[in-house]
Symmetry: C2
Subunit: 208 residues, 2 copies
């Protein structure tokens, strides 16, 4: 029935992480017990510790994987963009997808469950996070230099991060607002009116 062996091990590990992400997102790290996770996977709680050394270890793995996946997606999106405005839009979309996405990556966890990590855990995540933030700041600084945004880049990044992270408290898939819509509206707030108008004209052109 169950799959043993090397393949099985990785599978179970993945299933544990998936279950953990879902539970952490809905109930929070502290209110989620190792028994909850084990039940969701279909094993006993003690068996979790053959795959992870501690409950916090699960959280760390889940978060760092989420950051890595998102970072890769963001970098790729930025490289593909042929304008600052396009790069900004791509970054917003990437982060929005990650924050609201139910399965897999969940940077949103980093948001709400940050304090549940030990001090070493926090600093380890900070290192990963700084690469992530670096991508954002590079694009925002370019935009600022070209006069396409008004607000100072570092503050701007914090405001954008807040607006996007917060979506995970109210965004429901397929309801009220579409992801593309949210991204577009936020972009219109971030860019100057001129830059935004130019960007709209450009994308309209390339669509034809």
């Amino acid at each position: 029935m169950t799959e043993r062996g090397e393949e099985g091990k990785r599978m179970t590990r993945k299933r544990i992480m998936d279950a953990a992400v879902s539970l952490f997102r809905h109930k929070g790290f502290e209110r989620t017990t190792v028994r909850d996770i084990a039940t969701a996977v279909g094993i006993l709680s003690g068996s979790l510790f053959h795959h992870f050394s501690s409950k916090e270890d699960i959280l760390k793995e889940v978060i760092s994987e989420a950051i890595e996946v998102t970072l890769a997606k963001m970098s790729a999106s930025v490289d593909e963009s042929d304008s600052i405005e396009g790069a900004l839009k791509a970054l917003i979309v990437c982060e929005l997808e990650t924050v609201t996405g139910e399965s897999g990556a969940a940077v949103g966890l980093l948001i709400s469950e940050w304090r549940s990590l030990s001090e070493q855990g926090q600093s380890a995540m900070l290192e990963l996070r700084s690469a992530y933030e670096g991508v954002w700041l590079e694009v925002l600084r370019s935009a600022s230099r070209l006069g396409k945004i008004r607000v100072e880049p570092i503050l701007m990044r914090k405001l954008i991060a807040g607006a996007l992270n917060w979506t995970h408290t109210w965004y429901k898939d397929g309801r009220s607002y579409q992801q593309a819509d949210i991204a577009e509206q936020l972009l219109s707030m971030v860019l100057t009116e001129k830059a935004y108008a130019d960007y709209c004209a450009d994308t309209a052109m390339s669509a034809v």
Copy 2:
């Protein structure tokens, strides 16, 4: 030494709530134990339950007081404003002060510790919260009708709420950014460029 009697009761109750706010903000509700709170106040853990029926009861009291205080402050600020732009600025400043403020009110708690409330607790808070959101939406709808903001009011409110709530994770008193500065920059993102320019001109005039 200690003050007993009716005066003393209210004092201790207040001290418990203050200690709880501080601890909840720094460690989160789940990671804060009733023993932590009691120690901070200078009593034993069991004695807390003469003032509150449960740990969750403390959280509910703290949150609802925070909402009421902030709501009153916001309503007053809006009434005093003589323009939509001014009202918006006042709302932003109010919420910013509440979210980043260390002592007393702490709507920020509602943000991060929401899930720690029972279902009844959550719906009770929702009722209070809706009055709070009502003030925001009224102002935003007026601004939208007058063409002073571009983004649709409900979405705009969610984006603003996120940006402001998030400040409690990075804002340090007296460091990097001033509250007034953050509020001003956010306002410039919310309003259309024309509305913002008009508002700046107006405030410059009245300052002279």
